[in-house]
């Protein structure tokens, strides 16, 4: 559409949408700032113990000395571990979900196992993983994977199975193969499910990795934690 052709009403509408967006972002920023200010003030007044919760000014201080205190390196390690855990979790999760969608039999067989694995406190697996994979980065990534994988499988499989049956029937009226139904209907219909699970997963992977670092920690944010507050 050309700029000139935009009607007054349309302009008003667009302006309203933009104003709304700005308002949301401003409010989010205000909440963040309020939180940080409150944190700093409460820590200064000793209402909360900055020894345990730290304090914004100290964090900024640490960040300013990035190169000297090695935070950068640890940050990098944690980030890499999280990303590897996250990406492999997503790829493996989607792959297994496709497999289970494809074979009703496999899905039936694995259902109780998935439910049990999902309810298992994965942190408890930590020591086992260390024994199996060795106390290193591998164990940490496996930890991140363990936490996010099952959720990914369950969520994506659920989305797949709830794909609109009419759309599938429509494709079948054109003699679509099962593979075509998967790639042309089921996967595109679940793009939003996929992105939702990505959102949840990046968080879960981070939790997994940090947990892993607590257990193994040669490098990463966790070990940095202990240097930072050695007595804790």
């Amino acid at each position: 559409m050309h700029e000139k052709n935009i009607s007054e009403d349309r302009k008003k509408y667009l302006r309203k949408i933009r104003a709304n967006k700005i308002l949301v972002i401003l409010t989010q920023l205000s909440i963040l700032i309020l939180f940080i200010v409150l944190w700093e003030v409460l820590a200064n007044k000793k209402i909360i113990d900055s020894f345990i919760t730290s304090q914004p000014s100290k964090i900024i201080d640490t960040f300013l000395n990035l190169s000297s205190n090695g935070l950068l390196k640890h940050l990098g390690v944690t980030l890499t571990e999280t990303l590897i855990g996250f990406i492999s979790g997503v790829i493996l999760g989607v792959f297994i979900a496709i497999l289970l969608w494809w074979s009703k039999f496999l899905a039936k067989v694995s259902e109780p196992f998935l439910v049990i694995l999902n309810s298992l406190p994965k942190v408890a697996l930590g020591p086992v993983i260390i024994v199996w994979v060795g106390a290193g980065m591998g164990a940490i990534i496996t930890m991140g994977l363990a936490i996010s994988l099952i959720v990914t499988i369950l969520e994506i499989l659920n989305g797949f199975l709830n794909t609109d049956k009419e759309l599938i029937k429509m494709a079948q009226t054109f003699n679509a193969t099962k593979f075509q139904i998967l790639t042309k209907i089921v996967i595109p219909a679940n793009i939003s499910t996929f992105f939702n699970s990505l959102k949840v997963n990046i968080g879960l992977s981070l939790v997994g990795v940090i947990t892993g670092e607590f257990l193994v920690s040669k490098a990463g944010l966790r070990i940095f934690n202990s240097i930072w507050r050695p007595s804790f």
């Binding site: 494709a171 054109f174 595109p188």
Partner: protein, 247 residues
């Protein structure tokens, strides 16, 4: 006249955990080239089952089906894919059957132009009215060049006014393209207004209860103008009484 579809002693039993459901019992009829045949019957009697069997989506339990030429199948909902624009939607059948050639593309573009959707080809389904969506779904089916078109309550999602207009539209399009149609509907008027014959099915398990030949002795008959014929209400009454479930 040439038969394009023939059903002999078709029966269907569904197997379910809680038992067997007999949906169709000994159905016999045929459809001639260019003919419009409607199927009408009580709710749940097995009309959709019958179409699914003819299209091959559902296996039959007994009987024999002879089909000349390709079958197109239109479902109750338009089932347009919201993530594809109208052009990609109408190309979907060709894409699936890997028949996306220069010729077929030109044919689809012609259909879009002829039936007033060309200007909307880059729009997405949710930007179209119900009638236009239905037309897009029809073009998607026509694109694969069917000889016979199966319509399963294809208009029931539309409001009354749109429905009359769309039925009229689609009737003309199908006549224009020389397509034979087998139409399932709940609506007696729609069945009479569109078809050369109306097949009345019994309650489940469906059997053919009666077949009515509809002839208004009009030239250029359309679903709208035939409603004014005095014969229309006569046909309506006869079929209405027959559908009366007390019988």
């Amino acid at each position: 006249m040439k038969k394009v579809l023939e059903l002999k002693n078709i029966s269907k039993k569904y197997q379910a955990k809680n038992g067997e459901i007999e949906a169709l019992k000994d159905i016999n009829f045929c459809v001639n080239e260019g003919e419009f045949v409607s199927i009408i019957g009580p709710s749940g009697c097995g009309k959709s089952t019958l179409l699914s069997i003819i299209s091959g989506l559902e296996p039959k339990t007994e009987g024999e089906i002879k089909v000349e030429g390709r079958i197109g199948y239109m479902l109750q909902r338009d089932s347009l894919l919201e993530w594809k624009n109208i052009y990609d939607n109408v190309m979907f059948g060709l894409e699936i059957s890997r028949k996306k050639t220069k010729e077929s593309q030109t044919y689809v573009e012609e259909l879009l132009k002829k039936y007033g959707l060309y200007d909307f080809k880059d729009k997405y389904p949710n930007q179209l009215s119900g009638g236009m969506r239905q037309r897009a779904a029809l073009i998607r089916t026509l694109a694969i060049n069917p000889k016979i078109l199966l319509l399963d309550e294809a208009f029931s999602a539309l409001d009354y006014q749109t429905r009359i207009m769309v039925t009229n539209d689609i009737f003309k399009i199908l006549k224009n393209e020389g397509i034979t149609a087998l139409i399932v509907t709940h609506d007696i008027s729609e069945a009479i207004s569109m078809s050369n014959r109306v097949i009345v099915l019994s309650k489940r398990p469906a059997t053919v209860k009666n077949v009515h030949t509809i002839d208004f002795e009009m030239e250029n008959r359309t679903p709208i103008n035939c409603r004014e014929s005095p014969k229309f209400s006569k046909y309506f009454d006869t079929i209405w009484k027959e559908l009366d479930v007390h019988a």
